[in-house]
Symmetry: C2
Subunit: 221 residues, 2 copies
């Protein structure tokens, strides 16, 4: 089956036509993401932490990593329910009335439980994460050594339930407002890569690698 199962937890209630459960759609939005927001609860307190070291996906599994002492990972490792969200802001929707202003966006909300990735699978998981940060980068750099692997915690989360929500297109205004002399439309937004900035202490004869050139071409408007 190519759809994630639906329950009260992941069913999109507001604007249900914008909700999607298809694995391919969910994965596409996830894979276009750099940083995910990880939600977990301690006591009754929710925390939403951006995973600033990147994340990776393989099939229905999400990988997160951090230092062995990382508080968030230590909490997640206990087997708490986790919610992972990735959102792309694609445009400002400018309507004729204040109340119909909105955003075009693509988001995914994933539900699951995290678990520790065993030692023997760590390096593969770190490859998946690095490959999501920048495709092809892994083979350009020094791989992790034994000491680094020991100091790094990698968690996996199997996606139990998921939903995507997508808004595209022009504003939806009230019928009577279409007559108003108000400019309406969409201001597209895109996360765009600029010129690569070499590390000032680097030997400046090294040229920008293939991994970086690839993304710059893709992301230019």
């Amino acid at each position: 089956m190519n759809n994630y199962p639906k329950s009260s937890r992941n069913t999109v209630k507001r604007s249900p036509k914008r909700g999607h459960y298809d694995r391919e759609i969910v994965h596409q939005i996830l894979d276009a993401g750099y940083i995910c927001h990880v939600g977990f609860t301690i006591g009754k307190q929710p925390y939403v932490i951006p995973n600033a070291y990147g994340f990776g996906r393989e099939s229905d599994t999400i990988y997160l990593h951090g230092a062995v002492g990382n508080r968030m990972l230590n909490q997640l490792e206990k087997g708490l329910p986790v919610c992972v969200t990735v959102t792309h802001t694609d445009g400002i929707v400018l309507a004729r009335s204040a109340m119909h202003h909105s955003f075009n966006y693509r988001s995914v909300v994933l539900f699951g439980t995290a678990y520790l990735v065993p030692e023997e699978d760590k390096e593969q998981a770190l490859f998946i994460i690095t490959d999501q940060i920048l495709k092809g980068r892994w083979s350009e750099v020094r791989p992790p050594n034994a000491q680094e692997l020991k100091a790094t915690k990698v968690l996996a989360m199997k996606i139990e339930e998921a939903s995507a929500k997508i808004r595209t297109g022009p504003p939806k205004d009230d019928e009577a407002d279409y007559e108003l002399p108000v400019w309406a439309g969409v201001l597209p937004l895109q996360l765009t890569a600029g010129e690569a900035i070499p590390d000032p202490v680097m030997n400046q004869s090294l040229s920008v690698p293939a991994s970086v050139n690839r993304i710059r071409v893709q992301n230019t408007i």
Copy 2:
């Protein structure tokens, strides 16, 4: 006092030098955001939902809005603890080793409890939200009418505690790795506005308004 109070809830433990509690820094990062991620817990299940209708800030208060039937707002209104997070992805940090790859980013994590904005303050809150979506837009469009105000729920959350986390600059590599013949540096990322797309059904003689022109100039790399 210009700092938010520190507790175990909002103190940045990992890379504490990247943590900030200054109101001005927190507000700057918040105000640069379009969509926030709202975290709340039902039972033991955390939810992280992108607020795709925008949000606004005034002083230490965050405003969210949605339809009266909106599930998330109905939950928050009960007075649950809430965590609101805004993250800007500013660049991919390309190190000489796989493990030192990271992102440059600015994020804020806010803690508080939401409450219903009374009828008489709704319109001002909606102005604040619209002004954060696009400065100056409010005066270009039809303001909310009585029916719309009635159908809209606006929640406020006073920021009780907050922290910002910021990473900037080149990669930090292991001393021995600086000798490696690996290109290292930063690939800057920026949310960039493209050409405004007029609503196809609009009278095409209307010109792009000041609010839109302002942001396009600001956001161009």
